[in-house]
Amino acid sequence: MSLTFRLTQPEDAPFLSLWLSDPHILCWFPMIDAREIEDAVRIWIGYSKIESGLTALDNGEPCGIANLYIQPYAKQKHTCLFSIIVKEEMRGKGVGKALLGQLISLAKEKFQIEILHLEVYEGNPAQHLYEKMGFVLFGRQSHFIKEDGRYSAKLLMQKRL
């Protein structure tokens, strides 16, 4: 594996759409069908305009994307929500950890973010990565997801940079 990183580009959108279309990945996101995925990808990749997204490349091919959702209001610009995704075949190889490390540097150095936070569904294996990287729980919404009449919780975690 030869891992490099660059800013996310609009051309990365098809990779993001493809990964999100995998049911094993999509189950950890709020979207459920192609139209919703398309909408989410448009918003996510839209941040490439302000260069707040990073793409991990394995031998030159995208294998993971992470994005800082930079706040539109001055009073909240020191905090930032982020999202991250790693291609299914590249899971468990340190891509997520490396990509998140790069994203934290970008948040601190370019955007002067003081608090980075995330939302993750309870049971998502990525929660362990976040804990290892110093994210701590600050909230839990127990009925956030509803599928087939059953609810799942959303965990809110943050890290001070």
């Binding site: 979207m31 919703e36 001055a74 009073k75």
Partner: protein
């Protein structure tokens, strides 16, 4: 228990209510409880907020024909999360402490449950916001607290996230 003011009516929000919302958000005593702090931010917030009126998920309190408060459900765009919604509520400061916020919130909960079939609604407030008393009186419970979420002229304030099951 506070009596609703005589002449208070609750109706759906119209796009023409925008100037009132803009005017309230421009007042320092209102603005301190919202993320906006300048004209461009207020304009963006008003556009987004009033934009939801097209789905009939926003209510305006009207006293003697003049808007004095707005409460809006920010409906979720994805099916898995469409059973809940964030809401925002604001009352013109000159009409606060008269039960208008309570009336708006009760009506909004009813709209959320009866028309949109929502299971819960939630909101976020900054520490010290007087709305907290109203939320707690209406059965809202805290599900998250995040310190230092707002930074205004070097001073930090936390945010508190509340939810209520309908």
């Amino acid at each position: 228990m506070k009596q609703e003011p005589v002449g208070l009516d609750i109706r759906y929000t119209y796009v023409t209510d925008s100037p009132y919302l803009r005017q309230w958000l421009d007042l320092p005593q209102v603005q301190k409880w919202f993320p906006v702090s300048e004209e461009k931010e207020i304009e963006d917030a008003v556009q987004c907020w009033i934009g939801f009126s097209r789905y009939s998920c926003s209510l305006t309190a009207v006293l003697d024909g003049v808007p004095c408060g707005i409460a809006t459900l920010f409906l979720m765009p994805y099916k898995k999360v469409a059973h809940h919604a964030l809401f925002k509520l604001v009352v013109d400061p000159q009409y606060q402490r008269r039960g208008i916020g309570t009336s708006l919130l009760k009506n909004l909960k009813h709209l959320a449950k009866s028309y949109f079939r929502l299971d819960l609604i939630h909101t976020e407030v900054f520490e010290g916001n007087p709305l907290i008393h109203l939320l707690e009186a209406q059965g809202f419970q805290i599900y998250a607290t995040q310190a230092d979420y707002v930074k205004n002229q070097g001073e930090y304030l936390g945010r508190i996230l509340y939810e209520v099951y309908l």
